[in-house]
Assembly symmetry: C2
Homo-oligomer: 717 residues x 2
Amino acid sequence: MTSVRFVFLFLSISFSAFAQKDYKLWLQYDRITNPKIALEYKKNIQGIVSLGNSETDQVSVKELENGISSMLGNKPEIKSEIKGENNLIIGSQNSLNPDLQKDLKQDLDKINDEGFIIKTIHFRNKKQLIISGKNDVAVLYGIFNFLRLMQTNKSIENLNITDSPKTNIRILNHWDNLDRTVERGYAGFSLWNWQKLPDFIDQRYIDYARANASIGINGTVLTNVNANALILTSQYLEKVEALANVFRPYGIKVYLTARFSAPIEIGNLKTADPKDLEVINWWKNKAAEIYKRIPDFGGFLVKANSEGQPGPQNYGRDHVDGANMLADAVAPFGGIIMWRAFVYSEHDANDRAKQAYAEFQPYDGKFKENVIVQVKNGAIDFQPREPFHPLFGAMPKTPLMMEFQITQEYLGFSTHLVFLPKLFQEVLESDTYQKGKGSTVAKVIDGTLYQNKLTGIAGVANIGNDLNWTGHPFAQANWYGFGRLAWNPYLDSETIADEWLRCTFSNDENFIKPVAAMMIESREAVVNYMTPLGLHHIMDTGHHYGPGPWVSNLSRPEWNPTYYHKADKNGIGFDRSKSGTNATSQYAPEIEKLFDNAATCPEQDLLWFHHVSWDYKLKNGQTLWNGLALKYQEGVNQVKEMQNVWNQTEKYIDSERFNEVKILLEIQQKEAKWWRDACLLYFQQFSGKELPVGVEKPTQSLEYFKSLKFPFAPGNG
Amino acid sequence: MTSVRFVFLFLSISFSAFAQKDYKLWLQYDRITNPKIALEYKKNIQGIVSLGNSETDQVSVKELENGISSMLGNKPEIKSEIKGENNLIIGSQNSLNPDLQKDLKQDLDKINDEGFIIKTIHFRNKKQLIISGKNDVAVLYGIFNFLRLMQTNKSIENLNITDSPKTNIRILNHWDNLDRTVERGYAGFSLWNWQKLPDFIDQRYIDYARANASIGINGTVLTNVNANALILTSQYLEKVEALANVFRPYGIKVYLTARFSAPIEIGNLKTADPKDLEVINWWKNKAAEIYKRIPDFGGFLVKANSEGQPGPQNYGRDHVDGANMLADAVAPFGGIIMWRAFVYSEHDANDRAKQAYAEFQPYDGKFKENVIVQVKNGAIDFQPREPFHPLFGAMPKTPLMMEFQITQEYLGFSTHLVFLPKLFQEVLESDTYQKGKGSTVAKVIDGTLYQNKLTGIAGVANIGNDLNWTGHPFAQANWYGFGRLAWNPYLDSETIADEWLRCTFSNDENFIKPVAAMMIESREAVVNYMTPLGLHHIMDTGHHYGPGPWVSNLSRPEWNPTYYHKADKNGIGFDRSKSGTNATSQYAPEIEKLFDNAATCPEQDLLWFHHVSWDYKLKNGQTLWNGLALKYQEGVNQVKEMQNVWNQTEKYIDSERFNEVKILLEIQQKEAKWWRDACLLYFQQFSGKELPVGVEKPTQSLEYFKSLKFPFAPGNG
C-alpha cells in the first residue's frame, strides 16, 4: 500500500444521476454559498430553543433542524432552555414566560390567530431571535417564513416581522377519484393510495403537508367534486382519518366532497330530498360519525345539479335547501359547506356565461352562516383569460370563495410553462365597482368589502404522483403562488416569482432576473397562442388538449367550441352586449358600460363580449383578422423567446432540471405553432383573407389538424 | 462580526427529509466507510480510460464516474489514453489495440456475445484493470459487475473474472395499458407517459434502463398481454421509438404485444385470419413499418385465444398457424415471436391445469425457428406455490421460455414482503426427468437439455411510478433477483439476497445475516398463511386481494376458488391423480408416479394433486385438519419473527426505509391473520373440527370476512 499516488481530481460532487431535486419543490434548503451570509446566519443561530412540545412543535423543530443543517452544513444545537445569546426561540404565546409575553404584547395584538412574529429581541440583556404566534401552527408558519428568508439570502441580523393571512380557508381541491385517476390531472395519478391506507403512511403525505404548510395552505379536499359516495363509508373514513392525522400537525384540515345522493347510494334511503327527515338525519349521523373520527374535520365541498351531478333540484328543491341542510349537519362540530356556483342548465343554451349569476344571485342572504359559495374566477371555465365572474361583489350578504384552477386543464396540461399567479393577480385586482371604485375581487374574497367572517380561496390542485409533483418543474410555481396569494391576495406575481425561483433554483441575479421575466411573460404567451382577443373554450373536446375550434357536433350546444367563437362570414365573437345575450348587465353599471361597447371594452376581452367583423379596426389600426393572426404569431414568438432565455441558464442550475425544462419548452413551442396554425386555418375559412406579413405559413393542412385524435389523453372527466 | 462563537455541533449530515434512497434501488453507490477498502479502491482506480466512443461507451463512462465518485468521494480522472499504472481500461474487443487483444484472447474465447471480462493485467509492465467483452453492451455489463464488486466491498486488487449470460432473452413483461393503469400493478401506474412521449424523455426512463442493464435484462415488452391494437398505429409507434432510443445504449430491446385482431381494428380489414393473404401482408407491412423506425425491435409477445383475447382459433386455425404467420412477418428483420401457452378453454372445465399441456404439447416441432413458447412456471396461475408446469421438458423440438410473475398478484400485492427468487429457484431446480434424472427446468430454459438456440426468461414486472418503483422496498429485490436468475438460472437465492442487501442497504454483517435469513424465510411464510399443503387459487375474486375460498358464483367454474379446493365433509383438495383428472400423467413417468400417490407426493403439493380426508395422517402424525390449521398459524408466526428481525435493524439503515418496511410488516402481519382466520373458519364448516392447540382463535366471524369488499383494489384486469 506504499507510494499510492492519488491523481483523483478533488471536486465537490454535484453530479448524480439521482439528484431528484425537483421532488424537493421550493424547500431545497441548498447550501448557502455566500460566505458572508453564511457567517451572519451561523452567528445568529447559535442554538434552537423550543418552548413547546406539541406534535406541531416537534415538526417545527425538525423542519428548522433540517433546513438549517442543510443550508449551513452543520446541525444546530437543540437547547432545552434559553442559555447564552443568539438563540432561535420558538414557541406560541402560551408557551412564552410572562416576561417574554409582555415584551411581545404589542406584536401579538397586531396578528390574527394564524399570524406570526419573527423578531430580534434583547431578553435579559442578550440578543435572541424569537418566532411566535397565537398557536403552534402560527409558529410553524413563522418558521417556514424564517427559513424562506434564509433561502432567499435575506439578512436575519435585525428582524421585526409580523404577518397574518387575509383569508380563513386556504384550500386545495383535489379532483382525485378513488381509483387514483385524477380528473384534469397531468402529473401522474392521485397521491392518495387508498389501497394501502389507513396503515401505510407514505413519506410523501408528510412532504405534501410540509410543502403546503410552508405557504400557509390550511385545508385540502381529498376527493373529486364529481364525487363517489363510497368515500363516506366507514371503510374509507378510516383511511381519511389516517391522512387527517398526518396533516394535523401541519395545520391542514381535511375536507371531503359530498355526493348529494349518498343517502340513497350508501344509506339505503329511497330519496336524497334535503327536506326529507330521514335524509336530514342521515347526514346528521354521518357528520357525527366523521367528527368522531376526525374532530377537526373541515366540512364538505359540494357540486350539485351541475354537469349531471345529483342535487336538491332533483327533488324540486333549490341550492339553498341543499346547502343549508348539509350546513345544519356539520354546524354542531364547527364544519362548513363550500357550495359550488359552477352550474349551467341543459335547458338553457342561450348563454352559459350568464347562468351561475342568474341562478345564485337571487339567493343572496339566504344561506346559513357556515355556508360559503365557491365561485370560479370567470363565468365559463378556467380559460387562459376570462373577465372576472359577475357574482363577485354581487352577493353582499353571502360569503363568496374564489375557485382558481392550478391544474392546467385548458392551458396546455403539464407541458406548457405558464405562470398562473399572473392570471390570479389579474382576477384579484379586477374592480367590480359593486361598492364603488376600488371594490376589487380581492376585497370580496378577503371579506373586507362586505365584512364577511368566513373567507377563502380554493385552488384545483395540479399535484400528482409524478416525481416532481406537478409534471412540469415550473408548475410547482403555480402551487406555490396559489398558496402565497391565498395567504395574501394583494401580493404581486413578480414578488412570488422571485421568491419561488430563489427557493427552488438559485439566488444568482443573472439567473433570477431573466427567468422571472420569462415567467411573468408566459401567461400572456399562452393567451396569445391559444385564445387571443377574448376567444375562449375552443380547445378540443373532452380532454381539452390542443385546438378544436371546429368541433360542433356535441349533444349540448354549449359544449361546442363553435358556440363560443361563433365565427362566420361576418366576423367572430360572442355578442354578450345588449344587442346579444346581455350578459354585460350582470356587472355593476360602470363595468357594464365599459364591456357593453366594443370601443371601450378592453381589447383582451373583445371577442368574449362582441361579435365583430373581420375588418373591425383594432386600437393599433390593424383589422381584426390581421390583429388576430399577429397575436397568434406573437404567442409563438414569445415561446421562442422563453426558450432563448432558458437556454442561457444552464450554468446556474442542475442539469436534470435544466434539460427537463428545455425539452418541455420545445414541446410548448411545437404546440404553440399547432395552436396558431390550426386556429388560423380554421378561421381563415370564414374570413377568406390571407395571413398578414409576419405570420408564418402553416406547414400542415386544416384536415390534418382536424384528424388528430388523443384517445388516452389524461385527465378526461 | 467579531468574536463569533460557533457552538454548532459539526456532524456530517445524513439527515434529510427528502432522502429518497429507495428511488436509487440497488445502485445506491454509498460512500465506502471502511478506510482500508476505500484506500485499495483508490489505489487501483487512478484513472479511467475508455477506448470506445459509442453511445453505450458514453453511458458506461458516466455510470463508472458516477458510481466511483459517489463511493469514493472524488471524481476519477478520465484519461484519453493509457498513461501510468492502475488505470481502469474499458472497451470492447474491437477497440483494444492488437497487443491487448492478444493478451485477452483466451478470456475472450471463453465468453459469449454478451459475456464480459474483468481482469487485472500487466500491460507494458504496468498493472492495469481491464473490463472488456465482445461488444459495448457486454462491456457495460462488466462495468455494472465491477461496480457491484465495489458496492459489496470485494477486493479489486487482483481480478480475473469472466461471465456470460446463460439465456438469450432476459425480458420484463409490463402489463401496462395505454391509459397508464397496470394490470396486476401495485406500485402506482405505468412508467410510460404516452401523453408526453415522444418528445418528453423522463429521467426515469434512463434510470429504468440503468437498473435493468445492471442486472443483465436485455428486453422489455412495454404493453399488456391483454393488448390494445392502438399501440401499433404510427401515432404510438413514434412514442415507442423514442423509448427504444433511450434504452438502446443500455442494450435493452423493445418488444410489443400484438393484438391478434389488430388488422381489423386498425387495419380496416374484415378478418384477422392468419391464412388470409391480406392479413399476412398487413402484418408484413406493419413489421416493416416498425423496423424502419426501430431497427433492433425485438418482436411480439402474443396472448391469443386465452381469457377472451382474439386469436387464430376465431378463424378455425390453431396456435401454430397464428404464431408462424407473425414469425414470418418479423423474420426478415431478425425479430421473434413469444407465443404464450397460458390458455384454458371455456368449454372444458374438467381440469384447467391440464389444458395448456393438452393444447400445446402436440404442436412440438411445428413452430418456426423464431418462435418461442412462453410458459408460466406452473399450470394454474402464479400461485404462492405450484408444481412445475408439465410442458417443461415435454417439447424437445420447441424452445420454451419461462414466464415468472414478479408482481405479486396472488402474493399480497405490494404490502407483503416475499422474496421471490426462492420461488423461482424452486421451479428452476425442479427435475422434469424428461431426459432422465437431472433434466431440470433450468436446463430446459437455458437450452442445454435439448440444444435450443433461442432461450429466454420473462418476468411480469412489478414496476410502477411509485417513488420506490415497486411499492415495497423489498419488492425491489424481486426485480433484482429475477434479472440475476435470468442471467444465470443456477444462482441460489441466498447469494442474490446477500448481494442485493449489500448494494441496497449496508455491508454490515450484523444487518446482512438476519435480514437475508428473513428474506429466505419469507416465501414459505406466505405459502403457509395463504395456501399451505398445495392449496391454490383461493384468493378473493377479480382483484385477488385477500382470501375468498367461499367464492362459488362466477360464471365459469374454473374461476371459482371452490373449484380448486373442493372442500367438503369428506375432505379437501383437487384429485389430479389417476382416480381424478389424471393430470399427473402429463409429467414424466418418474414424476407422475411420485405425484400420483398421496403417500409419495411431496406434502407441500398434497392438496394440489389429491383430495384427502380431514383425518388423513400427515408425515408428522398430525391429521390433515390439524396440520393445515397449524401451517396457517406457522405462517403468522413467521411474519411475527420477520418483524422481530426487522425491528433490530434500525441502527444500520436510514430511518425512512426502516419505517416504511416496519409499517409494511405490520400490515403483512395483520393480513396473515386475516388469511388464517378467514380460511380456517371457512374450512371448519366442512371439517367440523375444533382448532388444534397452538392456533389462535379468530377474532371475527366468517360472515365478517365474507362481507369485506374492495371495489377499488388496484390492478384488476
